[in-house]
Symmetry: C2
Subunit: 206 residues, 2 copies
């Protein structure tokens, strides 16, 4: 089977390809020639993942490319910090940008977001948080839709630790571990992460 | 495996039990001793199905009954009429009641809802509509959630036809057929219905 994963994020694509069982091929947006910007206007992770999958599915059908794939899936991931009542949530990827109005390159955006999280939690003892990934899967020839959600609980550190992973990984320690996602080997992260949990459920549904 | 289907509606329970493969046992709310009223306060079918499943899952855990089942799933179904911009949607089951303020017994509620639909569409040529079922599945020992959606397109008749099924079945003709869900044999309805489509997806994910 072959699915489009509605993303061009190389980190996410490699996470997804590593988790997929043999026989399932994953195409990126680049692979299918989709180069539009998708506006994530949803108010929830669930809505955003649905918007992304629907936009790409409709584009495939409109451009006579629906034979390229069995379906399209898209994810949206949020960090929900307990002491901030679930923020940044749906704004996770654009948290610092929403404050400053300045659009930075990817790596600098990640760094600015992490610094904002550490700043917002300065002096706070309640550092509980969770990563949540929602994935929406649409089949191109069927009136059904599947949505899966994976959550990993953890805590926010007081300083950055580790170089691997991306986004908020260097400041998030998953429950049951004493290292951040930025310090843990990729193989471990890919086994226990929110995205891994959601993807494992998704694979069962394919 | 054993799952709680968060419903006491005998029509739905028998639809669900007929579709489930062997080896999967379905418990009703009655079977587990849950007798509270669940308030469906969601603004979407998706939210309502999630609220129902979460309420029952939390109740099972709180009452030390989580060993009874592997998980809980709940559905919410809506009729979305094109000419009414998707109404009654999330209010499908309570459409007439919301207008009159009068709470009727089940069978009379069904009849009042059907009559309201026929009245609202009187003289309208655009009679397109769709049934949508959303099912949320929660596992009791896992931070994952699965949601599936099934849709069946069709048209609303100008008068009631057929006695089988329930709810709006006697005024809905599914695409590709010339009989209403109230006229079609249960076996056919259970193969092509919105709930069947959602359940078929769900079974793949179990």
């Amino acid at each position: 089977m072959r699915f489009v994963f509605a993303s061009n994020n190389t980190h996410k694509l490699s996470e997804v390809r590593e988790i997929m069982p043999e026989g399932i091929e994953i195409l990126s947006l680049h692979d299918i020639g989709f180069d539009q910007e998708i506006e994530e206007t949803g108010l929830t992770l669930s809505e955003n993942s649905k918007i992304k999958a629907e936009t790409v599915a409709e584009w495939l059908i409109k451009n006579d490319k629906s034979t390229l794939t069995d379906g399209v899936f898209a994810d949206d991931t949020g960090l929900e910090i307990d002491a901030l009542l679930g923020a940044p949530g749906v704004y996770t990827a654009r948290w610092a940008e929403r404050e400053t109005g300045i659009h930075l390159p990817e790596m600098e955006t990640y760094a600015a977001n992490r610094q904002k999280a550490l700043r917002e939690l300065e002096g706070k003892t309640n550092r509980g948080a969770q990563f949540k990934t929602v994935i929406t899967l649409l089949y191109l020839n069927s009136d059904t839709r599947v949505q899966v959600e994976g959550i990993v609980r953890g805590t926010i550190t007081t300083e950055e630790r580790g170089q691997s992973g991306f986004g908020y990984d260097p400041i998030f320690i998953p429950e049951g571990y004493d290292k951040t996602f930025g310090e843990l080997p990729t193989e471990i992260k890919n086994n226990i992460s929110h995205r891994a949990k959601a993807l494992t459920e998704l694979v069962k549904c394919l």
